[in-house]
Amino acid sequence: MTDAAVHAVNPDQQVRTRLSGRQICKSFGSAQVLFDVSIDLMAGEVHALLGENGAGKSTLVKILSGYHQPSSGELVLDGAPVTFHDSEAGENHGVILIHQELNLAEQLTVEENIFLGREIKRGWFLDKATMRQEAAKLLSQLQCDVDPKTRIRDLSVSDRQMVEIAKALSKKADILILDEPTAVLTGREVDILFDQIRRLRDQGVAILYISHKLDEIKAIADRVTVLRDGRHITTEPVAGLEKDDMARLMVGRDIKQMFPDRTPGHAGDVALSVRNLSVDGQVRDASFDLRRGEVLGFAGIVGAGRTALMEAIIGLRERSSGQIERNGNPVAINSLQDAKKCGIAYLTKDRKGSGLLLNMEMRPNLTLLALEKFGRVIIDRKAEEAALEAAIEAFDIRAADRKSKVGDFSGGNQQKLLLAKVMETDPEIVIIDEPTRGIDIGTKSQIYHFIGDLTNRGKSVILLSSEMPEMLGLSDRIAVMAAGCITGILEGNDRNEHEIMRHATGISGKQGVSVHE
């Protein structure tokens, strides 16, 4: 067992515990979210932290790195008790946390964010040249070809995450904690990240890794700690655990069937038809049909233009050309309001930036998109409360306190609330962009079944996802995009990873032409 845990450590390096949390308890107000949790992080080991949404993972790691103070319990660093008054103290002791929620100043550039608070100086002045060089070096290490001068607000979510990782790497961590770093990353980026994690581990860095993707845990972690409802359930080597075991430990029950049974070919008439839609510089000549009762997947590498296409359909981006038909009739959708009237709803992948009002409580967030349903003149609060009740039930939203700000919710619960918000409009067609980002495995399965139910009731779903199993497990057909073009729509047995990759890279199908020609 212990052998397994330290298999990758340099032989000359002793197994040693770097940072421990002992009997950590944490309450916000009078709500306790952690109960006597203990955890040991060892040099040269990747330790995974598992648990359902709201189990307290993020809270625990924030305590370990000094962002929160424990209500009781203590931290032990290299055998001696230690108190981190703030995150700066934590970082000074080499404890670096990559937050689950992005923590970048949107109006600053990539380079400025990476070195924020630790600017490299020459004399009294910023050494911009060095910082730019360093930033470029860090980014290229992560094979991320973002220009360090780009402002964060102009970056895609996954690029932002890579910047966060670059920022953490630049800090020379002894103990590196990653809170769901891969939720917004693509497969390729995950591989790059894992290479970096292995490299650091081999250098003797202690790593704590949080993810809801159990494959990743299998692939990268040596030991795993499972939390449930704020309590420590177990800590054991990953080698001895199967994915199902982990899921059971987390959820406390078996997950029988991940995906709903979907009988292929039960799809009906065309509900939405898009013809020759283009967006300047982002999408070219996209055409597809969506049938009633089907899930149409959209696959493609990052920046292929999927989001741009969808936002153009629902009127959030300007189209340069193209027609849209609903049930065979042409419709003019020039704003999200028009789309809503046509029964189309859209779930954004950027829950923090465009999804939820973080400084407000759940109720107004839930009903914001479908306000008129709750009264055109006066909002019916009772109906809102009832809807909230129903949504909490249906989407299993676990908030300690209904009145607390959505920004204080755990990431997964925010995502569930966002899904509930979009569903509140009772749409005929749902476009969902990365619906299960940061969602635990139990809830994920619930969401998949929910999508299944939707289509069974004759509604249609467009699914944008970078998770291949999700794409394959849910979609009836899969449209693949590359460089702004739909390069193919895969049906039946063609729906497999290999075909998708071939189309996504432009090897096969309609040529993905550079959209900027």
Binding site: S30, L357, R381, A400, K421
Partner: protein, 337 residues
């Protein structure tokens, strides 16, 4: 997490929120105690009526400002707008006396004109800033200069005075009372209630909160951001026009010095009341209390000669800071988080 804990937590946070909401009221009560201590006349019916009547002007305007600020905007033009509307009302009513006589009709036309001008001026502020994509601060700074100039121009640098006969007819709108409550106070109350309902109980109000909180999220929630923002300026304009309608019969005149610095007072009332200057959170009752607080401070200073006149501003400034500090409510609790 078990249900027991859940109840417990929400109970405690309920307390916190209540205390915060009570903050401005407590600060106001503090001021009243101070006032009474300084001069017993403070609590006399006449004085209280004076305070509330005066608070009505700034209060009505501040209710409008609450919408603008909640939705993330700002309006610096309200004072000049009030002066301009007063001026236009007086000019038109004086002209009408010749044809319609000094009757109710004349006053009514003046009132309608006021509303039209207020709504129009608000719409201009809103449309120029949203459609022209210019910071509201600049747009309303510009219109502030424009309206003030226009009234100066109309008055030829002097004062526009309402015809004395019309004044007689119009007078009760300011000096009258219903069951002993002055008309301006009633109007103030009505505007506050309407504002409260609109901001807290209607889809429109909800949208204001959403826009002030995060415009992008609002846009992704199918909200016509520009339209709602423009509407907040229109509401502000309407409130200015209502305030003007009760202002004109008070002294029956308008000049370039009418309404100077009202914008600052209105914004101060809003912020004292707990609305956030950056938008996303607004509180009508807070604003009402804020307006009354500002008026009360002025009144208290007039009731004592203990303080050198020259230091009035200093005392006023201090009281505002202390009152806001007290009303924040969390000074008693330890720094948390």
């Amino acid at each position: 997490m078990n249900s027991l804990e859940r109840t417990e937590r929400s109970a405690s946070s309920g307390f916190t929120i209540d205390f915060k909401a009570l903050g401005p009221f407590l600060a106001l009560v503090g001021l009243f105690i101070l006032g009474t201590a300084i001069n017993e006349a403070f609590l006399s019916g006449g004085n209280l009526a004076n305070i509330f009547t005066r608070a009505a002007f700034i209060g009505i305007i501040a209710v409008g400002a609450t919408f603008v600020i909640t939705a993330g905007g700002i309006d610096l033009s309200v004072g000049s707008m009030a002066a301009f509307i007063s001026g236009a009302m007086i000019v038109v009513m004086n002209t009408l006396v010749a044809t319609l006589g000094a009757g109710i009709e004349t006053v009514l036309i003046g009132v309608v004109l006021s509303i039209v001008l207020g709504v129009g001026a608000g719409a201009i502020n809103g449309l120029v800033s949203t459609k022209g994509k210019i910071e509201a601060f600049i747009v309303t700074l510009g219109t502030m200069g424009i309206y003030r100039s226009l009234v100066t121009y109309m008055a030829d640098g002097g004062t526009l005075s309402l015809d004395f006969e019309v004044r007689g007819v119009y007078r009760p709108v300011y000096y009258g009372d219903v069951l002993g409550i002055p008309v301006p106070v009633l109007v103030f109350f009505a505007v506050a209630v309407a504002g409260y309902v609109l901001l807290n109980m209607t889809p429109f109000g909800r949208k204001c909160f959403a826009i002030g909180s995060n415009e992008q999220v609002a846009r992704y929630s199918a909200i016509h951001v520009d339209r709602v923002k423009t509407m907040t300026y229109v509401i502000q304009g309407l409130c200015v026009s209502l305030a003007t309608i009760i202002y004109v019969p008070r002294l029956g005149s308008a000049s370039s010095s009418t309404g100077v610095l009202w914008e600052l007072e209105a914004i101060a009332a809003v912020i004292i009341g707990g609305t956030m200057l950056k938008g996303g959170y607004g509180r009508i009752w807070g604003t009402v209390v804020g307006a009354i607080m500002l008026t009360t401070i002025g009144n208290i200073l007039n009731l004592t000669d203990a303080i050198s006149n020259y230091l009035n501003g200093a005392v006023q400034g201090l009281i505002i800071i202390v009152a806001v500090f007290l009303q924040r409510g969390d000074w008693r609790r330890k720094k948390s988080k």
